[in-house]
Amino acid sequence: MRDLSAGTRGDLLRGVATGAAAAGGVAVALLGMPRPATSAPAPSAQQDREILQLALLLERVQAGFYAEALARLPLRGELRQFARVVHGHEQAHVAAIEAALRGAAGPAPALDLAQATADLDSFRATAAALEDLVVGAYNGQATNLTPATLSEVARIASVESRHAGWARAIAGELPAPDAVDPLPDEQEVRDQLDALGLLKGSP
């Protein structure tokens, strides 16, 4: 049964996808016309930690989302395999980032997953949008990381991209919609996360 809120969610998801596609143009222009270094702050250990906090938030949201889906939804076949495999990866990412932050990880966020795991369609659509969002978060922060931290984070980032391709294929979308992925900044990522409505208290 589909209700009004499910329709609204679909619109939101499409909006997120459209925004991501528009941002992709920035990277294309950048490939063709390299510009001098931007005014963004130079990478530092402190900045690495701030970026890892954002990564940890997103990994925790993902781990919670897949755990809830596995507990709650009658997942079968490839969809079940996808949820189980990806859930395991997100748990491993959470553990790795918590270890890197050495006790400065902070409390886990309160999640509101009722809508996202209400039915199989919601799960598929949310998984695809969430994975794309996380890919964008890692991509957008890459130039703000020190090379040593980037080396570690990139090992996670491409796995998220694989998840995104897989989730999109399952949802009937093109796994790779563009030749280059968008590079959203932190505010865009947080706005996209709010739009998905997975955090308690988000609009």
Binding site: G24, A27, V28, L30, L31, G32, P34, R35, P36, A37, T38, A40, V85, V86, G88, H89, A92, H93, A96, V135, Y138, N139, A142, T143, P147, A148, L150, S151, A154, R155, I156, A157, S158, V159, E160, S161, R162, H163, A164, G165, W166, R168, A169, L174, P175, A176, D178, A179, V180, D181, P182, L183
Partner: protein, 223 residues
């Protein structure tokens, strides 16, 4: 067996590998010379000559792998032996790889190496082999960009490499799913150093000095 080992079954011609190694040595020299020229041009700027030369070498190396992929998918599309989901993958991914080639060439300008000649030995006309090779190419590209990205000095070039890196990972997931293997097999992807990557590529014999014109003899390098 790691996905990268899937390239190894195609290693059927040691002579081609040897030719390829010579080709790489010569091209490596050209890249260093090209980098030195860039360094001189930027001497008055903020970028150091060393980092500019390093970036040029990395982007030129990436260009070689993108050329390899672009040629592979273009040939598969042209051959017309694929259908359904596999044909769609080849068409969409081929367009992406060609876009990467165009972008890298635009950035490199006169420092870009000449396009190598390729000989895929009929792999692009056999769907099973096409699929297996595509899996290897895409996993290889992910591992290569992951290794090179933190070594890029320019933030602009790093941003471009990162935006491509994740697309190659999407491609990898896509073709692995079509091949019936896990799109994301591990929680962490591993980088691959250049020497090992080039060893794998040369083992295929897919890159030749020029188009094969006669028999099975090793092509001569003339460029």
């Amino acid at each position: 067996m790691t996905p990268l080992d899937r390239l190894l079954p195609f290693d059927r011609d040691g002579a081609l590998a040897e030719t390829f190694t010579r080709l790489q040595l010569l091209r490596g020299t050209a890249a260093v010379l090209g980098g030195a020229a860039v360094g001189a041009a930027l001497a008055a700027g903020s970028a150091s000559a060393a980092s500019a030369a390093g970036d040029i070498a990395i982007l030129d190396y990436a260009l070689t792998l993108e050329e390899l992929q672009a040629a592979f998918y273009s040939e598969a599309e042209h051959a017309g032996a694929l259908d359904g989901a596999l044909a769609r993958q080849a068409t969409v991914v081929g367009a992406h790889e060609r876009a990467h080639v165009v972008a890298l060439r635009r950035v490199l300008g006169g420092h870009a190496s000449a396009r190598p000649a390729f000989d895929f030995r009929g792999v692009t006309e056999r769907p099973e082999q096409f699929r297996e090779t595509a899996v290897a190419f895409e996993d290889l590209a992910v591992a290569v960009y992951k290794h090179e990205a933190p070594r890029i000095a320019s933030r602009e070039y790093l941003a471009a490499a990162i935006a491509i890196h994740s697309v190659e990972a999407r491609h990898a997931a896509w073709i692995r799913r079509l091949a019936g293997i896990l799109p994301a097999a591990h929680a962490f992807d591993e980088p691959l150093a250049r020497a090992r990557a080039m060893e794998l590529v040369s083992s295929t014999g897919f890159i030749v000095a020029r188009a094969r014109t006669e028999g099975r003899s090793a092509p001569r390098f003339t460029g």
